[in-house]
Symmetry: C2
Subunit: 372 residues, 2 copies
C-alpha cells in the first residue's frame, strides 16, 4: 500500500466517534480496519459494533445473517462439499489512550489494530468480495474474548447455537504475523500447599518452616526439563513453572503455610487428565490441587481444507504455544488454525499497530484459497 | 497466699473504672496488680496510670520522683556502693474483652496481668516497703513497650535522660515465670531479592523464573544448622529462617522477581556487624539487603550484683531467646536480666492471667536481695 491511508474524519462531529455508524465494505482492508478500530468495543461494550456488522452484512444477498447477543454469524449456503469457518472477536482490551486510530507510513496505530480488528476487516472484506467461494463459508464475529472464559461469545455459541458453528475447518484471524499457527497447547494451574508449624522465630526449633519446605518443590521445578514434541510437523515446547508464591505471617513468626501456584503448558498430544497425572508425578509427595485447566488442540493440518489453506498462504506453519479459541473449535471436532495479519507481540500494548500492507496481503491469500 | 484475694469493687461506681484514681501501696501485691490492671493503659494511653504512679510515689520521703512524658523514674539517694535499676512498662496490648480483672482461686485474669502489671506491682511494693535498701534503687516505669521500637519510652529515656537510668545492674520485671533470664539474643531481618526475566508462561524458555531461582536460597536455609553456644553458663540457640516469601505477577507470566525476608536470631556473643557478615556468608551469591536489626545483650551474670540477685532468687538462670528491653540497658553499659512473676507464654492472650502467690513470692525474693 503505497498511498497513505485516509484518516477518518473523527473530529468533525460533536462526539468522537459520530458518523461512523456505517461500515463501508468497499473500503480497502486498511481503511476498513481503521473504521473498526474507531468503534470502541472494549469487552462487554460490543453492541454498537455488532449492530454495524449486521447492518453491513444483511444487504449481501449470498449471506444469511444471524445474531445471538453481540455475536454475529453469517453463512453462504451454496451446497459446497466443504464448509470453512472464518472467525474473529469484536472486542478489545481497555483503551490505553490509543484511540482514535492514526496512520504513520504503512502502519495503522490504535487499540485493537493488531488484536484483532485487522482480522475482522479481512473477514468482512472476504464476506463482501467473494460471493461464490469454492467452499461454503461461515463468518463468526463474537464478543468477550479478552475477558474471563465464561463470558467468551464463541463459548456461548458453542453451547447455545452449536449448529451455527458447524464446519470442516476453521481459521481464527487472530494476529499471527501472517503465518499459519497450528493447534494450541493446553494450560492448567495447580496450587501446591506446603504446611508447617507456626512458632516464634526466636524459638524456631519449636516450629516447622513451611517456606523452607518449598525448597524441594522449587528445586524439582528448576531441574525439570520440559518436553519438545513434533505433531503434524510442528514442534511444541512444554513448560512447567511456578508462577506465584506466597508464604509467611510476620517478620518474627516461623511460617506454617507456603502456597505455590504452578502453571503447566502442555502439548496437545496430552489430554487434560494425562497432563494432570504428569504434574502429580513430578510433584509427588506434595499436596497438589487443580484450580483450572483448558485442553490443547491438535493442529489438524492433515485435513484437505487445511492442506489447501497452508498451500495458499504459502508459509511454513508453526506451533501455537499460547492458548487460543482454536481449542474451542477443536472441542467441537473442527480442526482450526490461527492466521491473521497482526503481530501477536503487539497485542495489548499501548503502541499496538498493524501493517496496512499485511492486511491487504492476508485478504488476498485467503481470497485466493477460496476462489482457486 | 492462702486467703482469696479480695476482688476490687469494680461494679459499684457508675463507670467501670471509677474510684480507681489512687494506688494504695499498702495493698498486697496481688490486690495492687488488680488495681493496676483495672487502669486500662493500652500503648499510647498511659497518662492516667502514669499520673497515679507519680501520685503514689511522691509522698514517699526516701524517693525522688521525676517524669518525662508518661515515663516515671523514682530513685533513692543513699550513697550506696551499688545502684540497681528495677524497670517495667506501664502499657499493655489492646484489651481483648478481658477487663475488668477477675479472680479465680489463685489466678488473677485480665489484660496485662502477666505482661506486666504484676511486675509493676512488685516494683511499687518494693518502692514503698524497702525504704533503706542495701543498694541504691532506681525504679523506671515506661510507656509504649508493646509497639514500634521508636515509640518505646525506655528508648526515649536512654536518649533524652540517660543519667536517670545510670546503674550497675538492672532487673526488668517482664514475665519470666520467676526464673532469671539472662541477656537476650539479637535479631535482624534481611530481604533477599531474586530477579529473573518476565515472559508469557506459554513461552517460558524466553524468560528466567525468579521463583525457581529461590530454590537454592531456600535449600541453604533448610540445610542450615544453627549454632548453640554457652555464655555465662546459659545456652543460646540461634535460628536463621525465611519468614516471608512473595513472588509472581499473574497466573500466566514467568515471574521476574521473588522476594524472601530472612530473620536471623543470633546469640549475644555476636555483634550486629558480625551477625550480618555471617548472614551474607551463608547467603553468598544472593542480593541481601539489611532492613532492620537489634543487638543482643550478654547475660552479664558475672557482675557481683547479678550474682547476689541470682543467689537471692534461688533458681537456675536461663537464656532469653526473644529480644527484650534488657538490650537497651546493655546498650547503656548496664548488665540486665528479666525476672518477673508472670508466665511469658500467656502474654498477649485473651486468657492472660497471673498467679497471685507468684506476685507475693517475687516481691519477697527481691526484697530479700535488697535487704539481706
Amino acid at each position: 500500500m503505497s498511498s497513505p491511508h485516509p484518516r477518518p474524519a473523527l473530529s468533525d462531529g460533536p462526539g468522537p466517534f459520530d458518523g461512523l455508524g456505517r461500515l463501508d465494505l468497499a473500503l480497502d482492508g486498511g481503511a476498513l480496519t481503521a473504521r473498526l478500530v474507531d468503534f470502541p468495543s472494549v469487552s462487554g461494550d460490543e453492541a454498537a459494533l455488532a449492530d454495524a456488522v449486521v447492518a453491513a452484512l444483511r444487504p449481501l444477498p449470498h449471506l444469511s445473517v444471524e445474531r445471538f447477543g453481540n455475536n454475529v454469524v453469517a453463512r453462504t449456503n451454496l451446497g459446497r462439499a466443504e464448509r470453512v469457518v472464518l472467525a474473529g472477536h469484536l472486542d478489545t482490551v481497555p483503551i490505553a489512550d490509543n484511540l482514535p486510530s492514526r496512520v504513520e507510513g504503512d502502519l495503522l496505530y490504535g487499540c485493537g489494530t493488531s488484536d484483532m480488528k485487522a482480522g475482522v476487516a479481512v473477514q468482512l472484506r472476504i464476506a463482501a468480495t467473494v460471493p461464490e467461494p469454492n467452499r461454503d463459508l461461515t463468518f463468526v464475529f463474537y464478543d468477550c474474548e479478552e475477558v474471563e472464559a465464561d463470558r467468551n461469545g464463541l463459548g456461548h455459541l458453542a453451547r447455545e447455537r452449536p449448529d451455527w458453528l458447524h464446519g470442516d475447518f476453521a481459521v481464527l484471524l487472530e494476529p499471527s504475523s501472517a503465518v499459519v499457527e497450528g493447534g494450541c497447547q493446553g494450560t492448567m494451574r495447580v496450587v501446591v500447599r506446603i504446611t508447617g508449624q507456626r512458632a516464634h522465630s526466636a524459638r524456631s526449633w519449636l516450629g516447622d518452616n513451611a517456606i523452607h519446605g518449598a525448597a524441594e518443590l522449587l528445586g524439582r521445578l528448576a531441574a525439570y526439563r520440559p518436553r519438545r514434541v513434533e505433531i503434524d510437523g510442528l514442534e511444541y515446547r512444554e513448560g512447567l513453572n511456578a508462577v506465584l508464591i506466597d508464604g509467611g505471617v510476620a517478620g518474627n513468626v516461623i511460617p506454617d503455610l507456603c502456597t505455590v501456584t504452578v502453571n503447566f503448558r502442555f502439548a496437545p498430544d496430552r489430554s487434560e487428565e494425562q497432563a494432570l497425572a504428569h504434574v502429580r508425578e513430578v510433584l509427588a509427595g506434595f499436596d497438589v490441587e487443580l484450580t483450572d485447566s483448558a485442553p490443547g488442540a491438535l493442529p489438524g493440518l492433515a485435513h484437505p481444507a487445511a492442506q489447501a489453506f497452508v498451500a495458499a498462504t504459502g508459509g511454513v506453519p508453526r506451533a501455537k504455544y499460547g492458548w487460543t479459541d482454536v481449542a474451542r473449535f477443536a472441542g467441537l471436532g473442527i480442526p482450526a488454525v490461527n492466521y491473521g495479519p497482526g503481530d501477536p507481540n503487539l497485542a495489548h500494548k499501548r503502541e499496538e499497530h498493524c501493517s496496512l500492507a499485511a492486511i491487504t496481503e492476508c485478504e488476498r491469500r485467503i481470497a485466493a484459497w477460496l476462489t482457486g
